[in-house]
Amino acid sequence: MPLLRIEGVAKSFGNFRAVDQLSLDIRAGEFFALLGPSGCGKTTLLRMLAGFETPDEGRILLGGSDIAQVLPHERPVNMMFQNYALFPHLSVRDNIAFGLKRAGMARKDIATRVAEMVALVKLEGLEKRKPDQLSGGQRQRVALARSLARRPQVLLLDEPLAALDKKLRESTQGELMELQRRLGTTFIIVTHDQEEAMTMAGRIGVMDAGRLVQVATPRNLYEAPASRWIAEFVGDINLFNGQVAARDHGRLTVSTKEAGTLAVSELWPPVTKEVVSVAIRPEKVKLSRRAPASDEAGSRAINRLEGVVADVNYLGGVTSYRVKLETGAVVRASMANTARLDVDAYLAGQRVVAWFTADDCLVLEQ
C-alpha cells in the first residue's frame, strides 16, 4: 500500500478541466516531482493534496483513509508556499512555532522543536528577526522550517526555489535532498523547471492538460519518453517525421523526407503505427569531417547525414551546432568541450557529417 494514493481525481473551474481523472501512487519516503508547463494542473493537484481545493471526483487516500474532503488544518500534510507566505508580523521563531502552538504542544516542547528546526535549516542567530529583515534565501529556509516543524507525513512544495537566483537555487537543491534523506519525509514538489525536477526527484510525473502523461525516473523520462510531446518538453531533441519502410528483428527502417532513410532500434513496447517520428537528442549526434566506417553486422548501424554547419553556439561546457542538411532540415548537435584548446571545433560554413547510431534514436508515434 502506498502512503498516498490519488484515485481518479478530477477538478474543474467552470468549463476548464484543471485536473482530469488523475491517478497516482506515491510511496512513503519518496521525493516526487510534478513537472509540467504552466496551466497543466500541477498546482491544482498540489492544492487538492493540501486541502485548499476539493476534488469534484475521485479519492485521495493517505495511509488508507480518504482525505479528499478533510479541511486543510486537519490534514497531516504541510505545504511550503511559492512566495513562502511568511507571517510578516511574526518573528522567525514565532513563524516556526505557529503550527506547533495550534497543535497544542507544551511551551517547553515548542522551544525545543523550534531550536531543532532552526538548526536544521541553519538559521541560528536570526530567530528574532522579522521576515522583512531576511534575504530571499533566508526566508526560503524559514518557510521550509515552518512547514517541517509539525513533522508532516507529506510535505508539499510549490515551486520552492523559483524566487532564488541560479547559484543559490543549485546549492539549495542539494540541501533539500540532503534534508529529505535525513528526515525520511515524503516530499512532493511542483515545478516547471525540468532540471530541478531531474536533479532532486526520484520519480517525476509529467502533467499536460490536467492529465499525468508519464511517471518515470529522470533517466527513463529523458531516454525513453512515452510520447512525442514529452520528448519535446523534456530537454532538447531533433525530430524527423517519416514512415516505417521495413521491420527486421527489432530494427526499423524509417524513410523520412528530411533526413533520408534512418535505421532505428525499436523500443519496448513496439510502435504499431506506420507514420512515426524518429527522435535523437542533440548530445547523441556526433559531428566529423568524414563519415565514420559503418558496422552493419553489429547493432551499431550508423545514420549519416551530410550537411553544412549553419551556426555555432559556444556555451562554456558544451558547444551546440546547427547543421543544415541538403534537404533544408536542420540537425542540432551538442558536443562537450572536453579540451581547453579545442582542435575539433567546427566552423560555420564547414561541410560535416552528422552521425548517430540506431540505438541512440527513439521512434515515437506522431
Binding site: H73, A85, P131
Partner: protein, 271 residues
C-alpha cells in the same frame, strides 16, 4: 533608486505658494482671529485667550461639542465594525451572484448627495416613529461613514497575500482563527485609519445631522451654524480652531497608521 533633490523653479514655487494660500489663508485668518481680544470679529484688538475661556464656560456650546464627540466616537465604532465585516465579505467571500451589484451599492453613500441621504433617513425615522436625538444622528452617521471604512479596509485586504491565510490554515488554524491570528493583525492599521476617517466625517457633517437630530441634541456644527446666523461671535473662531486642531491631529495619526500598514504589506510580498 537614488533620491534626487531638485530645487523648484521660480514658476513652480509661485504656483505652489498660490495654491497653498488659496487653501489655507482662510483657515490661518480664522486661527489668528481666534486669539483676538476685541469683541468685534473684524477688528484686531491684540492677543488674548479670552474667547477660549468664554467657550469653556458656554454650557450649551460644550454640550454640543460633547454631543458631536460622542456621536463621532459611537458612529465611527459602529461603522468600523460593519465596514470591516463588509470589506472582509467582499474581499474574501466566495464570488457570489450579484457581488458586483452589492459592492456598487455599498459605495453609493460616497456619491449620494447628503441632502438625499439625510432626507431619506429622516423619512425612515419618522416612519419608524423613532424619537430623534443622539441615536438617530449616530445611526445616520454610521450609514454615511461605513462605506469609507469599507473602501480603506478592502483595499488593504486585497493587497494582502491570500496565501498568508492559507498558510495559517495549513498550519492548523480553522478559517476563523486564521483570520484572527494572521489577517486581523495585518489589517489593524487600515481599520484604525478607517475609524479615524469615520470619526472626522461625523464631526464634520451638518446636513445629515440637521435632518436627523431632534430638539436638545444639536451637534457642534449645527450649533455653530445656528449661532453664526445671528452674527459671528469671536468665540466661534476659538471653537473652530479647536476643531481644526483635533482634525489635523487625527489626519496625521491616520496617515501614519496607513503608512505603517503599507510598510507591513510590502514585507508580506516576496523579495
Amino acid at each position: 533608486m537614488a533620491r534626487t533633490v531638485t530645487t523648484l523653479t521660480r514658476f513652480n514655487m509661485t504656483s505652489l505658494a498660490l495654491g497653498l494660500a488659496f487653501l489655507y489663508l482662510p483657515i490661518v485668518i480664522l486661527v489668528i482671529y481666534s486669539f483676538n481680544a476685541s469683541r468685534l470679529v473684524t477688528v484686531w484688538g491684540g492677543w488674548s485667550l479670552r474667547w477660549y475661556h468664554e467657550f469653556f464656560n458656554d454650557r450649551a456650546m460644550l454640550e454640543a461639542a460633547w454631543m458631536s464627540l460622542s456621536v463621532g466616537a459611537v458612529s465611527a465604532t459602529l461603522a468600523t465594525l460593519l465596514g470591516t465585516l463588509a470589506a472582509v465579505g467582499l474581499a474574501r467571500g466566495e464570488r457570489f451572484r450579484g457581488r458586483a451589484l452589492f459592492s456598487g451599492m455599498l459605495y453609493s453613500p460616497l456619491v449620494m448627495p447628503e441632502v438625499i441621504s439625510g432626507l431619506s433617513l429622516l423619512l425612515l425615522f419618522v416612519a419608524l416613529n423613532a424619537e430623534r436625538g443622539f441615536w438617530t444622528v449616530t445611526i445616520a452617521h454610521t450609514t454615511l461613514t461605513m462605506c469609507f471604512v469599507t473602501v480603506v479596509v478592502q483595499s488593504r485586504l486585497s493587497a494582502l497575500d491570500r496565501s498568508l491565510e492559507e498558510a495559517a490554515m495549513d498550519l492548523g488554524c480553522d478559517p476563523v482563527r486564521a483570520f484572527l491570528l494572521v489577517t486581523l493583525p495585518l489589517i489593524v492599521p487600515a481599520i484604525v485609519a478607517g475609524w479615524m476617517l469615520a470619526f472626522t466625517l461625523s464631526l464634520d457633517d451638518v446636513v445629515i445631522a440637521s435632518f436627523t437630530t431632534g430638539p436638545g441634541s444639536a451637534t457642534l456644527p449645527i450649533r455653530i451654524y445656528s449661532e453664526v446666523r445671528l452674527g459671528v461671535k469671536p468665540e466661534i473662531n476659538a471653537i473652530c480652531t479647536l476643531v481644526i486642531a483635533l482634525i489635523a491631529l487625527i489626519i496625521v495619526v491616520a496617515s501614519f497608521a496607513s503608512k505603517l500598514s503599507n510598510a507591513r504589506g510590502e514585507s508580506a510580498a516576496p523579495l
